[in-house]
Every structure is written in C-alpha cells, then in structure tokens.
Symmetry: C2
Subunit: 226 residues, 2 copies
C-alpha cells in the first residue's frame, strides 16, 4: 500500500471519469437519457450521467455506480463505447472519460435524479441541446456505434420481446438508422445475417397474420460474415 500511495501521488496525472449513454426508443423516436447540471461551469446544461472513478474501483463498477447514483437506473448491461481524452473537455481538470452505452426498453427503469442535478429527462437524439463537456461528440460516437452494430450484432434484442414480427424489427432498424427499408430487401438481408430464427407461429390480431421470430441468442453476439 505504501508503494501504491507514493506512486499515485508522485506526479500530477489526468483524472478518470465514466459516463453512461443510454438509448431507448419511445413512440417511434430514438432518445437518450440526460441530467441537468445545477452547479459549476456547466450550470444549467444537460449532460450524460457520470462522474469520477475512485481509487480501487473497477471501471465498469464505477459506470454502474454513477449511473445508479445519478438516475436510479440499475441492472443493465453497459458496453464500453470509447475513451475520450481531449485535454480541455473538462475545464476543472484534465479528465479522461471512459464512456459506456446501453439500449433499454422504454419505461423499463424508473428515474430518480441525484442531488447534484436539477432535472432528468429522455431527449430525442436528433434534437439534443448543447451539452456539457464533450458530450455532444460523445452522443455522436455512441449513435454511430449503435448504428454500426445493427449490421453485425444482435444489439437490438434488448428492445424487443422474445417473439416479434419482422415488421416490428424493421421499425426499430428504421428509427435507429433514420432511413426506410424496402420490406422484402430488409427481410432477405436480416435473415442472411443469421441472428434470427423463425418460430413457426403467427401473430394474429387486427392486422394480417404475421410470422413470429426470435433472436437465436438474447445475449450479445456478432454475425459470422465469413
């Protein structure tokens, strides 16, 4: 321990923070969770929930702790997104931010804002205000990663029930990618990715009966393209 303390204090070094970018789809809109800062140089601005990593605390533990303390959200799979190291991103001190992200079903988590924040809210990703720190850049990186992952992973399983129609899946892809797909092309390409299995069951209701599908796995997996 003596060694550790001495080494830690020997010279100034950047601080380490964690931030969490949560996405959901609500009423056909891709949204992300922000908290409104009520003190310091970013007073009145919105930011992703996050904070400093403590000595002796693993990064993903810190990310889950900060997310819980600032929003009340817990019990979800946070995936590391990217580490942001621009020197002046935090005017208080050189702070390296390890960002995490996750997709959550709408309404699945009750929100409780932390004491240091004035408000907490879901914002449409396409209409974010000017955020604190470099969080606008973080939002863009997170959205791009989410979009890219649609084509080689089963990442959207967390937004869908165990059984769903290809139409429901297509809607989610269209909302996240902000583009329309031809129904037959989308169906052909999705099935070629090998992420889905047909269930030999139909959804019946007000509309024409539609075939039901499931993900082959409901934990993170990548497509085998080659």
């Amino acid at each position: 321990m003596a060694t550790r303390r001495r080494e830690t204090k020997r010279q100034p070094h950047p601080r380490v923070a964690v931030d969490a970018v949560l996405f959901t789809i609500e009423a056909g809109t891709l949204k992300t969770l922000l908290v409104k800062i009520k003190q310091g140089p970013f007073l009145g601005q919105w930011a992703f929930p996050g904070g400093l990593v403590q000595v002796g605390e693993p990064l993903d533990t810190a990310a889950r702790r900060e997310l819980y303390e600032k929003t009340g959200v817990q019990d979800l799979y946070l995936e590391q997104l990217y580490t942001f190291g621009e020197v002046h991103r935090d005017p208080a001190a050189h702070t390296v931010a390890v960002a995490y992200f996750a997709l959550v079903p709408p309404g699945a988590h009750a929100l409780t804002r932390g004491d240091k924040y004035a408000e907490i809210a879901w914002f449409p990703v396409s209409e974010l205000p000017e955020l604190a720190y470099d969080h606008n850049a973080m939002a863009i990186t997170a959205h791009q990663r989410l979009q890219a992952k649609l084509s080689y992973t089963n990442i959207v399983y967390s937004l869908l029930p165990p059984e769903f129609t290809l139409g429901e899946l297509q809607t989610i892809y269209e909302v996240i990618l902000d583009k329309q797909f031809d129904r037959r092309n989308f169906r052909r390409k999705m099935l070629a990715l090998g992420l889905l299995k047909p269930l030999r069951k139909m959804r019946r209701g007000a509309h024409r009966p539609a075939a039901l599908f499931a993900f082959t796995r409901r934990s993170p997996m990548n497509v085998e393209v080659l």
Copy 2:
C-alpha cells in the same frame, strides 16, 4: 490553472496509461511487438510498449509518444482498442490503461528499444510468453478485435500493396483467423462485402495469371451490410 491544480490533487484517483498493440504478418505468422522490462516487479517479463499519460497530453498523442520512445516506431494509424480498468493490473498503483492497436507491414519500421527495456522483438501471437500487467488479456482482446474487424472493415489494407490477388488476400485472412477457406467461397463472400474493386489487370509470373484487385478505399471504412 489554480482551479485545475486544486481539482487534480483533491483526492487520489487512478493513473492513466496508454499501451500499443502492433500486429504484423511475417513469413505466414501473425506477430505482435513486445519489449522486455528490466526493472521493477515485472523485471524480465515482456509487455506491450506503453506508459503514463501526462497532464495536458491527449490520449492518442500519448500513445504515439510512448510507442515512439519505446520502440522507434512512428507514423502509423493507431486505433483505440479498449480501456482496461482492473484495479490490480499494475501492482505499483491503480492504473487505467487505454489500449491502441495497429496493423503494420513486416519490416516497414526499424526498431530502436528505449533505455528502460532490455530487448524488443516480434512474437508469434499464438506463442506469447507470460506478459506483464494484464497484457495477455490485452493481447486476446486485440486479436479478437482484429479478427472481428476482418469481416466488416477493410482493416487489412495496411498489410497489402495497392494491387493484390485474391489469393494474397485469402492468405492474410487465413493467417489472422487461423482457419482455411474454400477458395471459391472466400472469393464470393469477399466480393459481396463491397470492400474490393477488380482492376481489369492480371498478375503474370511463374504461376497462372491472376486477376488483380484493389481496396475501394485505403483508409478505415466499414461494410454496409444493410
């Protein structure tokens, strides 16, 4: 500046390091660059080149600086891999390591080892010794990322000349993925990814003439699967 210094010193926090995982293919073998430590608790062990980030230094600048100081390698595109935050990965102090990786052509960079290191060498990825810190885990993460990126990016362009045959490309894929592909299946799948363009030229020599290809772009790009 006063604020920054106070904030930096207020409480102990983890240190930030950068490490660089370089891959090359030499004589049909995937290799990675290591330096041998000659002091401290990891004396005599091999590690990826890296070191602490300085206050006021951007992460990727630190990664390039450490790589240059420890190996003499410079002028290459380092891509951020992952940030490792296991608390005891460095026995000297809690140190968060932001790892970078790159693919380099064999022999393209002359090596000059830094003063703090006993040796520098390329090791076959399949036969790494027990490395310092958590660098065996870092090697696995880097290799997995490299393998995954083969299927949705043009990452191997840096290992190939501007014009190449599909046989040369297949060899690189087989070395990195450590598996054999059927020639016609590989050809069909690669062309479907849209990363290559045929050049309407042939390579002539000792073997049967072979069609030449180029990457549609020689900078990082992702496949459009959907």
